[in-house]
Every structure is written in structure tokens, then in C-alpha cells.
Amino acid sequence: MSQDFKFMSKYILSIIVTALLAFVSGLYMPWWGIAVVAFLVSAAIPQRPAFSFLSGFLGVFLLWEVLAWWIDNKNNGILSQKVSSLFGMGSSTVLLIVITSILGALVAGFAALAGSYLRRLIYPGPTAVTP
């Protein structure tokens, strides 16, 4: 089992776990539940800070992208077009979905980054720098 594979599987696992738990948090918590989730996941699964950030970012980016797209599709874009033009973006639904996902992704990414630094603080040493 190569180091690369181990690293990749942690990375992918983080993304999937972040996305799943973020979804669950959305059912029971306010919107910033995604930050809590990303923070905890990166504190629990040790990765380098940059990759922690990326897995938080991507986890929520994918989740929100899929959710927003799914909702918009079921709604025939009725509301997204109106909200887009309310914010002066014409009636571009795609842009609104991307902005939505990036915003959630950034929040989660930075929360994950914080989580990863916290872990380093508590468990300094080689475990934190696997690859």
C-alpha cells in the first residue's frame, strides 16, 4: 500500500465525510453547521493544512452544488432567475449556483483549515504530516 494511496484515500474520505455530515447538519443545525462539520472532520482525519482546506472546500462545494442544482431543476429555475436578477446578475441561474457553492465551500474550507491547525497544536509530530 503506497503512501500516495493512503494520502489519496484520506483526502477523498475527508471530502465524502464532510459532504455527508454537512448535509446532516443542514437538517438539524443552522447554516453554519457546515463550518462545524468541516472543522471536526479535519481535526479528526489528519492531513496537511492545504489538503484539509481543500477537502472542506470541495466537500461542501460538491454538496451545495448538487443540492442547488437539484432544487433548481425541480423548480424549472423559476426562483433562481428572479433572485439572480434581484442581485443584478441578469437571469443567470448557473452563476447563482456557482456563487452559492463557492460561498459555502470557502466557509467550510477555512473551518477545515482551522481544524487542521488545531490538531497540529494538540498532536504535534509526524502523524500530522503523513505524505
Binding site: 448535509f23 443542514g26 437538517l27 443552522p30 447554516w31 453554519w32 457546515i34 451545495w64 443540492l67 442547488a68 432544487i71 433548481d72 425541480k74 423548480n75 424549472n76 423559476i78 426562483l79 433562481s80 432567475q81 428572479k82 433572485v83 436578477s85 434581484l86 456563487i99 452559492t100 460561498l103 459555502g104 466557509v107
Partner: protein, 783 residues
Amino acid sequence: MGQFLSPQHGFWQNAEPVDKDFGQDLQLAGLKEPAEVYLDDRLVPHVFTANDGDAYYIQGYLHAKFRLWQMEFQTYAAAGRISELIGPKGLNYDREKRRLGMVWAAERAVAEMEKDPVSKEEADAYTAGVNTYIANLRESELPIEYKLLGYKPELWSNLKTALFLKFMSLDLAGYESDFEYSNLRSLLGYATFNKMFPISQDSLDPIIPADTLNRTPGITVKAPAGSDSVYLQGRDIFSVEEVRKPSRDNGSNNWAVSGIKTKSGSPILCNDPHLGLNLPSLWYEMQLSCPSFNAYGVTFPGAPGVIIGFNDSCAFGFTNAMRDVRDYYEIHFKDESRKEYWYNGQWTPTDFRFEHIIRKDSTEYIDTVAYTVFGPVMYDKSFSGGRRANTKYLAVRWKAHDAGNELMIFNGLDHARNYTDYQQSVKWLHTPGQNAIFASKNGDIAITAQGEFPAKWMRQGDFVMPGTDSSYQWQGMIPQSETPFIYNPERGFVSSANQFPVNPLTYPYYLGGEYHNYRGLIINRYLSQENEIGIEDMMKLQLDTYNPFAGMARPILLKNIDSSSLSRDELKYFEILKHWDLHYEADAKGASVFKITWDSLKAIVWDDELAKANERGFYPVNSTLLEGILRDSTYEFLDNINTPVKETLRQDINLAFRKAVATCKNLDRDGKLSWGKLKATRIEHLANLDPFSRLDIDNSGGGYAINAVRNDHGPSWRMIVQLTKNTEAYGIYPGGQSGNPGSVYYDNFVDNWANGKYYPLWMMEKNEETDKRVKAIIRVTRF
């Protein structure tokens, strides 16, 4: 931002699946017995309950489910609380509402409502229904407007219901022009004023035509000495301006035809109330069915009951009474503390009411309003409404201040079985005064010019009155026993279209107010001529776009325009005007040329007088000018008082036409001269959010036509009910059943409304549960 964009919390949650299944099983704490709600293909709920209270409870629940933001927003506006939502921009609006005494009046109305066990039960059940919905509302389900503006709904209360009803009173019984009138009278003289704003019209066809009123009036009103001469003679100028004046265009049509004139042999009742058009719509359609009544029609999100509609025995509707029930008195305070005012020869103590206006940043603005025997002192040094400064103390006396129990009229009509029930029900309506129309399956038709109106002497309340003693006060209310009505007249129909309710020259009390005469004329002409009337004829009549005003005015224009001296351009528009078929059709350029020419003439004729009185833009109604020049081609106002020469009708009209052509040419070049484009009907979202509005509706209709569609105003609900054994009814309103801009049901009626289509109104029977029109079932049980 995250809150708003989160797909699991924010606006995405308001993006309703287009094929959403609204069916559910609900357990609600306030329900007494199990109930069912059947939602049909237009999302109209058919509510079946085991008792009255449950019907109103579920009505409240459904209003909140589909229209919560609008309900609350309207009551915020009524109570002068807009500052809480939009900040300092709302302050003047809020102060105006507070100083008018809106909250004070609503509090008095609640006390009255809660005194009667019937209306109390109804209001309580409704309030409980709304609050059950709010209590179970998750954050993600909040209407999108809350998410955008960043606030949350409060609990509902009977006071909010009362506030909503006062809001309707303000819209319908809040229009007057006392300050404009005072200034015009003061600066132009009483004689000139009387000619510009006469108390009657030549083309008069009152709602109550026959002389059913020839009994001795119960109240003899006496005008105080000097009221028609000394008072206001060149001395007083009022600089107050209303922040938001109720619409001058509020009006409506209703008529009922007796079975002798219909194809089916049964009466037909029609009603189309003309009101400001908004999204979400003022109206919400529903059927309420319980053992004691079964009513279908439009309801007000914010109040219980069916407002305009029909039940198993009869149909009912309204048009606005238009009378002036809001007057002002100039108060003389002892000093700036406003603690005492001079009244009937002595210093009288003032009451103060502290209005706490909360700003968006949660700080308070406290407005201290002085209350006198006349009412609240609305305008003073600190508040003039508009831009100009004001130093006078002006108290407002408004009929809507008086406690009334208006819920009972709708309760009564929803339950009404016959003419007697109708008559008893409408007596509950005090303000806003309405022409209440009625038809029943046993063949009766009737109309009542209902309301509680002050008994006024000639011109009382048209001008600001002295408030130092009781001589100018209202001397009493016209007794309800004298309310003008007609019941099964020989001519076979009753109708109203905001014209004079009675002949103002012979009626013992002064009416006040502004009236629209033209729609009534053509409705009555049509109904007297036609027989064998069917539902399609009634639809055609409601959608009729003939402009009777232009029918009378165009000949004078054409006769006076000097066509031989016109340029090629001018001739082109002259021909368009000449060949127009007098209908407000969407593609008719003639309708636009006529309007632009008339408006230009109106300005030429009146602007000089209005400028002298500093009341620019406050034009007399168009019938005054038309009747003036029809009567007399040397009508005195044709002269421009600022020039040494005496202008003639011919000169004025030619000048007006030349000016109009310049405007027409520009519009034509931009492709905007067709009537539909010029009128530019729009249905604006209540918070003026354009993407949530429907702009640029290019349809037919216009102010003087029966189909009175204007820019932001028009037939807000068109209804036709044929009272055959099985009722056959049609209706439509320009909106949709859902208040959610993310729903397909938000504005799905708009295009059909604009194109003059109707929906069949389905009075569902309990055993029709499996009918294919039922799209979803909500089963409600007690929690």
C-alpha cells in the same frame, strides 16, 4: 449571506418543485373536530369542517401557509411600523399612519369585535389558525421576503386583523382633498372654486334612481353662519401634504340582473372591484364549508370569512361608496405644550398618546400625538407630511375612528339565505361605505348604498374647518333606516359603478367625495336594452373597452382642430384620432392620441388657475371640463389668466393638439404609442421588488371603460355568478394562490386575466373527493 444562500436554509428552500404534492396529514392543536382541505388544480382550497370555528381556524392556517409575509407586511404598513423593516426612509410614512390614529382606531375596533360572542369566536379561531402555522414554521420554510429583509414573523392577533381592516378603510374611505380644496377656495374665491369642483354632474345616473327616498330626513343639519362666505376668504393657506394619498381611482363595477332579463330565468350577479394591483394579490380564493354555511369566493389574507362570493342560496359583492368621511379641524392650543385647547369658550385638556416607532437599529422614535374632541392632531409644526413646513395644528375626524364590527357583515353574508338576511348583514358595515349588491336563487336582486355616514350640511368638510367650538362638528350620523337601497326594481337590474348614490341636488344630506359617472352610464344603458342575457354576455360586458368619455369628448376635439392648417405629421395623428373606434384596445394608437391630446388640453385650461393656488397637478375631474365646454363654448376657464388676451376653445384645442403631436411622434418612433404600451399595466410586488413583479402587461382596457385597467390599478377580481339551481360561477384575479415567488402558483392567473379569460368556480360537494380536479388532500385532525 450564508444564511440566505444555503440550499438547506436559504432562498433555495423557497424554490418549490413545480410538481409539488401539497397533500399531507396534519395534527393541529386548535382544531375541535377532524376536517379536510381539498386543493384543486388552481390550488384553491375547499375546506370542509364540522363547525364554524374550525372553518375560520383552518382559513387562518391556510392564509398563513400561503400568504404569511403579505399578511404581516400589510399590518406593519397599517400600524406605521415600516421603519422597523426599511429604516429611516419609512419614518414619514409611519408617522402619518400613527397620527391618523390607525392603531388607536384598530384598538377600538378590536374591543367592539370582542364584545360580540360571534365575531369574537370567529376572530379568535382565525388568529389561532394563523399562529398554529407560525409556531410550527421552520426557518427554512420562512417566506423569501423574510430571508431577504432579515426578520421573522410575529404571532398574529385580533388586533392585526383589525389593523388589516383599517388598512382597507384607509384605501377605500381615506380619499379626500380638503387641503387642496381649502387652498383653491381661499386663493381663487368661492365662486370660482365652485365652478371648478361642482357638487353634481350633468350626466347623472345615480345608483338609486327611483325616488325611494322621499321621506322626511331624521336629522336636520344646520350650516353654521358664515360657513359659505366669511370663512376661508383669502386668508388661509395649508401647506400640509399627505405622504401617501389613497388612490383617486379606487372604484368598481357591480350589477345584478333579475331572472326576467336572463336566458336561464335566474338572476346573474357580477362584480369587479378595481383596486391597486399587487403581488401577492390582495385576494385569496377559497371555499369554506361547514354545517351552518357553505361559501365560495375571495378572501382577504388577514381576515376571516369570504368577502366577495356566493353561498348555496345567494351571491354578494361590493363597489366603493366614494363619500368623504375624513375632515380636518384647525385647533387653537393655549401654548406650545399642547396641553390645553380652546373649545366652546374654555380651555380644554388634551389627551396624549405616545407612538413608539421602532427603527431598524432598534432605537425608538417617540411621537407624541395630541388627541382632541375632534380626533388626533395629525399635522403640526413637527409633521407636515410633505416637503413644506407647517405651523397649523390640524386635527382629523375620520369615520373609521368610530368603533364598528365589520367582520359581522361577511359573517352574515356567508350565512345569508335570503333578502332579509342580506339586509340585516349589511347594516354591520359602517366604514368603508360600500354599494352592497345581492341576488338570490329565489329570484331577488337588491343593492344598498351601505355605510354609516355623517349627516353633513352643504360642503361640510370639503375645507378645513375651525376647531374652536362645536358649530362645525358633525351633527350626527344619517340613520340606518334612511339608507338608500333598491329591491327588485321594475327595470329588472341593479348596478353601481362609483357614480353618485343618489341625486346630490335633492338628497337631504351633503355627500362629499368624488364620483365616476361614465362606467355607470354604459352599464345601465346596456342592461336596460338587453334581454335573454347569458353568462357570456356578462363576460363581454365586464371586458368591454368602450371609452364613453372619449365618445363625448372626441367630437369637440375633431370639430375644433383646424385640419386645413395641419402639417403632414399633425395630419397623420389627426387621422388616427378621427378613425379610432373609441375602444381601449391594446394595439389602438387612437386611444393614446386621444388621451395625450386631452391631457394636454386639461393642462392648458387648468394650469393657470392651479398655479395661482399653488396646487399644480391637482386637476378637477375630467367630466367638469368636458361638461363645461359642452355647455358653453366660451367656458370661462379656457382663458389663460396670465395673458392679456382672451383665449378661445378653438385656440386651446389647437394648441393642445400641436403639443400632443410632439409627444405622440416621440412615442411612435420608440414603438410606444399603442394603448397597451402607453398604459403599461404593471403588477408590482408589495415591497417593489421588480423581479417578483409582473411588469409590462400589454393588454386592453382603460379608466373610463367598464374594463377599467390602468397602470397599476384595475379589476382586482372579476366574478360572474348565475344563480340557477346548480350555481354556475366564473372568476379570475391577476395573481395566483401562492404568495411564494418561487412557486408556479405565484402569478399563474396573470396572463389569463390580461387576456380576458375566466376560470369556472367550483363549489365542491363533500362527496366529490375523487373528482379529477382534486389535486391534493390535507387531512387535519386534532393534535
